[in-house]
Amino acid sequence: MITEIKQNTMTLNSIIFQTPVLTSNTLIEIKNLSVYYGKSIAIKNVSFNIKEKVITALIGPSGCGKSTLLRCLNRMNDLIENVRITGTICIGGQDIYAKEVDVIELRKKVGMVFQKSNPFPKSIYDNVAYGLRIRGVNNKSVLDEVVEESLRAAALWDEVKDRLHANAMGLSGGQQQRLCIARAIAIKPEIILMDEPASALDPIATARVEELILSLKENYTIVIVTHNMQQAARISDFTAFFYLGELVEYDTTKKIFLNPKEKRTEDYVTGRFG
């Protein structure tokens, strides 16, 4: 057991951490956010700010509220009955839970990639074009261009360019997940939310998806929920550690993993938890 922990810490030490631009602007402000499912509370009074064009990882044990928080950012929780939210979330200064906010417009700006890859049972092309088509874009040359651009950005173009009209369900798990990323960036969001995007993938596919996420940082603000500690350490600039619905610690990833302030954070990232 003890050797295990040591090994774990060693691998973490050997990771080259991302060096975030500390001057980058705040894009998402979360203030006193609490979320209730019926009578049970999932998030307790959480406040922190997420910076622009960096990767922010949300980590914590199962049921700590990190996915719930992520789904608040594009109001996916609206689809679930009996959810009550208090506090505010501002994106670019706009309270996204304000009455006048159009959820459709919000989701256009805040894209999402899910834990289980969920391509539509349509062709690869139709999957990527979906977001544009529902906005009434039907011009073929525009669609062609966006589809190619998005698939290239998702590092999938070379693998699928000869079978754009084949069913997306025929792709491998890793390809499906990259297709879902391509589909999300096709509508040019500002923020991409990722809910454990690599948890169902093998190590090689995971590495490719991670590489892709890193490359997207240039243009997008990324918030990623992950169970994989190494993954959080490898790709994120900032890390927020949640435990039982509370935000325990939020800092640069390097600090969280190498020099955490809280005992609970240290225990969790070194694998001593539970």
């Binding site: 996916m76 689809l79 459709i104 899910f114 049972p121 349509k122 062709s123 069913n167």
Partner: protein
């Protein structure tokens, strides 16, 4: 740790008595299946053997002029057309309403609210109402209420809508088979993975767009299943059309929705109860039943083939 392997128990996982009872239940369940298959086989065989001799192209393509009890001149073309029409009109009116109801129940209404539970159980109970009650409902609601009011509104002195007609019989059947369509559609919608819906919403789709692009195409095979069940039930039903549109005899085919019509199922009833000479018309009766069977089967076969095509298209979709 090591002493576990030395004392390993012998693995007797299936004691003898359980083997015996397992065999017993295999036998019982197998026999039940056999019984059902045998019953169906006997029915179909009996109809084929007795009906095939008289069954002919002339019989199914003739419009009888007056005496349809005479084997030489009898024909059932008006009955075939009438049955096909009633099923077709029923499908056109009933399926869309059923599908839209199912969409409301599964997409718009909140699943556990009291009123929705009440509606859902009402739908399920509707499926258990005897068909003759639907016939009476059709007479009371469609003919006496809707039809007569239409006539009053239009200022007709003679009843045009307020009498038994093809449209009212078809609508009565539509009401009767609606629960089947609703239940099948709702189940198909419920089986769609949540992820697909969420992906659509996350891309900024509205509810209507998600229903149109994701939910409906996925639910189509299920909708078709409901339709097939509705068609096979409606094609043979006599009770609901008894007061609402079927005629004992007509020398002509129906031309308008407000005309009465002849029906195969009802004709079977007429041949077996009103015949002046049972022995003479027996073969005709069998041939009519055979036709009804073939018609019902081919109507659902068409729907099954369409469903197969849709499933295939869903599986290997190319833009």
């Amino acid at each position: 740790m090591s002493d576990v392997t030395t004392n390993a128990p012998t693995m007797n996982l299936l004691p003898k008595d359980r083997k015996l009872s397992s065999r017993f239940w295999t036998l019982v369940t197998g026999l039940s299946v056999l019984l059902i298959c045998a019953t169906i086989a006997i029915i179909i065989l009996n109809i084929f053997v007795n009906g095939w001799g008289y069954f002919s192209w002339r019989f199914i393509s003739t419009i009888p002029k007056n005496n349809f009890f005479e084997p030489e001149t009898a024909g059932i073309l008006p009955m075939i057309i009438g049955t096909t029409l009633k099923v077709f009109i029923m499908t056109v009116f009933g399926v869309p309403v059923g599908v839209v109801t199912a969409i409301y129940l599964s997409e718009y209404a909140s699943y556990n609210s009291h009123s929705i539970r009440l509606i859902r159980s009402a739908v399920n109970n509707l499926a258990g109402v005897p068909s003759i009650v639907f016939g009476l409902f059709g007479l009371g609601f469609f003919i006496n209420f809707v039809g007569q009011n239409l006539d009053d509104l239009m200022g007709y002195s003679e009843p045009v809508w307020g009498k038994p007609a093809l449209i009212w019989a078809s609508l009565t059947l539509a009401v009767m088979t609606m629960p089947v369509v609703i239940v099948a559609t709702e189940e198909a919608i419920r089986a769609i993975p949540r992820g697909e819906r969420e992906a659509s919403y996350a891309l900024g789709a509205t509810k209507l767009q998600t229903i149109k692009n994701i939910v409906l195409p996925r639910a189509l095979p299920g909708i078709m299943t409901g339709m097939i069940l509705a068609i096979s039930r409606a094609a043979g039903e006599v009770a609901p059309i008894l007061f609402t549109g079927v005629a004992y005899f007509m020398a002509d085919l129906p031309h308008k929705l407000t005309d009465q019509f002849l029906d195969l199922g009802f004709h079977v009833f007429v041949l077996s109860t009103q015949s002046p000479d049972i022995e003479k018309t027996k073969q005709m009766l069998y041939a009519t039943v055979l036709t009804l069977l073939i018609l019902t089967m081919s109507l659902s076969l068409i729907a099954v083939i369409i469903r197969m095509r849709i499933r295939k298209k869903l599986r290997s979709m190319s833009a």
